[in-house]
Symmetry: C2
Subunit: 203 residues, 2 copies
Amino acid sequence: MKTTDVSRAALGRIPVYLRFLESLPQDTETVSATVIAKELGFGEVQVRKDLGAICGSGKPRIGYTVSDLKKCLGGLIDSRNGKAVIVGAGKLGRALLDYGGFSDYGLDILAAFDTEVPPNGESEKPILPLDGLADFCKKNNVSIGVIAVPAEAAQEVCDKLCQSGIKAVMSFAPCRLTAPEGVAVQYENMALSLAHLKAQIKQ
Amino acid sequence: MKTTDVSRAALGRIPVYLRFLESLPQDTETVSATVIAKELGFGEVQVRKDLGAICGSGKPRIGYTVSDLKKCLGGLIDSRNGKAVIVGAGKLGRALLDYGGFSDYGLDILAAFDTEVPPNGESEKPILPLDGLADFCKKNNVSIGVIAVPAEAAQEVCDKLCQSGIKAVMSFAPCRLTAPEGVAVQYENMALSLAHLKAQIKQ
């Protein structure tokens, strides 16, 4: 099972399933899709479909072995390739640096980089000078770069990240980027998301 | 033509088309899909499909009347229902407040609200006390609320927004929300986006 085969919606539910499984009493050996659906307020069909696609079917009348299910779901969001850095330590970059939800998906944001390093604020994670980006990424085996700089600086940052051995780039800058083959690029466009929401407002 | 009928990808290209049309010399009367595609580096098939779906076909050998095309594309991202407020003036809320890309989509972020109003920083837009949320939204005909508070406060904020006459909610908090019927809710999950990107890294 590869993560790429799992729908984005199902991937979003994995941390929810895992948190539920972790919350079960230690001596719980098995759990059924019916119980999971009821406890989480999900549809039973959906739970069966999610777990079936990721971990195969449970045993009739018994359901899934809890430890197997944890291993299977957890394996899907393991921490391989999960090390990331942010370039751009403005408000957005620092918001991302302190955002707590990444570890649920096996992601580990190690540091942010910027040309001007702001005075160390409340953040527990370091903000480092951009000069050291390549060394840091190579030493720490970083595979994801998040671009949180203005559009005019984004391509230069993208080039720097690719030269640092990054395998995937997520950009919040509102412009297209060119990256070498083999580097995945994803664009986050918050304005577009909001525009889509606006379109759903009933007149 | 309703915005809801346009794909997210096409919606994302509308500001690009509009910016190109605005950049044409004032006396340009018509423009063809071929020229637009070439200038913007898009595929011609894509441009024809986008414009055809939104504004109908151009005239053979002539293309589109520039003023008609501007009116048609611009109408789709008009500013109806585009007024928004942010609740939560932490790093993320303030990053959103200052983000310049929203106006491209007919969105207007008017202000951020928080229980504790931080000292007015560099932001040009006001950060206001949460007490005044309902009055502000009603007076200014605000229809979109963006939730940028921690998960534990998100439902309360969502309730407050709905009581203030908001028609659509976008939440960055990592939890499910309950909203009255008729209020559209959309979740932004940056960790999930990054997890998806991670899944694309070739092993």
